[in-house]
């Protein structure tokens, strides 16, 4: 097939690419990468980082989820993801990058957090989420399937993975007093058809990361 996506089921970065391809109705072959054995296809296609997602289009590979999203938007012109206005485009890119810069290291930290440190980490996470809420325009209607944008698909996974962390660590992250608009936004967007179809199963995700957490916090 002309389009192949190399990924792992639990990766939110792979999810971003799946959503973009899905919204534009692009047919693709999905290849689940075996990260324990780092398949030779991955080493060939992403020798710099050896990470997924990797999109291969007509034999040409590319990596980095946000870079891939921009490429997809430039090749397939239907259902444009980025706004046309240069400033709004820049704004979308800024918030997508913010999530990667701030939220990703926080999740990585949470997945290894010990019980004595988790309340502090939870507090910092709530602050990051509060900042993220600032990206939303309270006067704008919530997105629907047909209006999902670059920024929406770059951010939506944060709500899902945060819910997973709340259950896993028994902490409050999506506090309705702290981030009422963001919480509602997540509830609405995570319930959209095209999003639901691409999300990894919640229980499977919770089990996977609970095991990960146990492995990394038990004394060896």
């Amino acid at each position: 097939m002309a389009v192949k996506l190399l990924g792992i089921w639990q990766s939110p970065f792979v999810l971003r690419v799946k959503l973009a391809l899905s919204l534009k109705g692009v047919e693709y072959e999905y290849i689940e990468d075996d990260i324990l054995n780092k398949s030779s296809m991955l080493l060939q296609y992403n020798p710099v980082y050896k990470k997924v997602p990797v999109l291969v289009h007509n034999g040409k590979p590319m990596a980095e989820s946000l870079v891939i999203l921009e490429y997809i938007d430039e090749i397939w012109k239907n259902h444009p993801l980025l706004p046309e206005d240069p400033f709004e485009k820049a704004r979308s890119r800024f918030w997508a990058k913010f999530v990667d810069d701030k939220f990703v290291p926080m999740i990585i930290r949470m997945l290894r957090i010990t019980s004595d440190q988790k309340d502090n980490a939870a507090k910092e996470t709530r602050e990051i989420l509060k900042t993220l809420e600032g990206s939303l325009d309270p006067n704008k209607p919530f997105p629907e399937d047909k209006s999902l944008s670059f920024m929406d698909i770059a951010i939506v996974w944060v709500g899902y993975y945060t819910q997973m962390l709340e259950k896993m660590l028994d902490v409050k992250l999506l506090d309705d007093e702290n981030t009422p608009l963001l919480n509602t936004w997540f509830r609405v967007v995570l319930n959209l058809q095209v999003i639901k179809e691409c999300l990894p199963p919640f229980d499977k995700l919770l089990t996977h990361y609970t095991n990960f957490h146990e492995r990394h916090t038990t004394a060896s």
């Binding site: 990596a63 980095e64 870079v67 490429y71 430039e74 090749i75 400033f87 820049a90 890119r93 990058k97």
Partner: protein, 232 residues
């Protein structure tokens, strides 16, 4: 055909390679702008209000639009509002994606490794980081060969995106080399990049924006004071 200086303001500091990067692009596109110097040890109200999320420079203020931070985002924005003079990004989507990938790589590796080198007190640790830095420049040499395809710049005949994204670090690269007594770009391992650095240093549009060693030393001293090395 310049733009009036009130249209574009740039908040910056001379020693910041990320600010220099934006200055390169403004210069290449012949865009006039008002430069507002920031003292990072004592950030102004304007900076704190303009970039509440990161409180960092550069920040671009265009007309009466909200301020825009993050150098790579600013560069893409400038390329979109002034597309006709010296386009920075290539037009082919695949080459654009490749450019963006390497820009991301450069930003996760180059300056963070220089900072890591500065913060590491012990000799062994420093040697390990120097080794990493040289591995990065090796990869960048390969990338240069691919992108330049025999021409003088990453962008081909003219300065392009990666020339600007990597070129802004040349002042610091020289400083780090001298301070740590090793070569980051050299004739043996990275001959093409070494030639490229000389082209960038002498380019009309760029040379005024590359900070001198005194500016860098002052900034280095400030970093040593406010973000001291780890205890040995």
């Amino acid at each position: 055909m310049g733009t009036s200086s009130s249209e574009i303001k740039l908040l910056g500091t001379a020693a910041s390679p990320f600010v220099n990067r934006v200055q390169f692009v403004l210069s290449l596109k012949s865009i006039e702008y008002e430069y507002i110097d920031e003292n990072l040890a004592c950030k102004s109200e304007l900076l704190l209000k303009s970039n509440p999320v990161y409180q960092k420079v550069p920040v671009l203020i265009h007309e009466n639009k909200p301020p825009l931070p993050e150098s790579l985002i600013i560069i893409e924005y400038l390329d979109e509002i002034y597309p006709d003079v010296h386009p920075i990004l290539p037009s082919d989507p695949l080459i654009r994606a490749d450019n963006r990938f390497w820009a991301n790589y450069i930003d996760t590796k180059v300056f963070p490794l220089y900072e890591e080198l500065r913060k590491t007190p012990e000799k062994e640790g420093k040697e390990a980081i120097k080794k990493q830095i040289m591995e990065v420049s090796q990869l960048l040499e390969e990338a240069f060969l691919k992108f330049s395809d025999g021409k003088p710049y990453f962008g081909g005949d003219k300065i392009g995106y990666l020339d600007v994204v990597l070129g802004c670090f040349l002042g610091w690269t020289k400083f780090v080399e001298k301070h740590n007594e090793f070569m980051i770009f050299d004739e043996v391992k990275t001959p093409k990049l070494l030639e490229w650095t000389k082209r960038i240093w002498s380019h009309e549009a760029l040379k005024d924006a590359i900070p001198g060693s005194e500016t860098l030393m002052n900034f280095y001293m400030m970093l040593m004071k406010y973000k001291p090395p780890r205890a040995a």
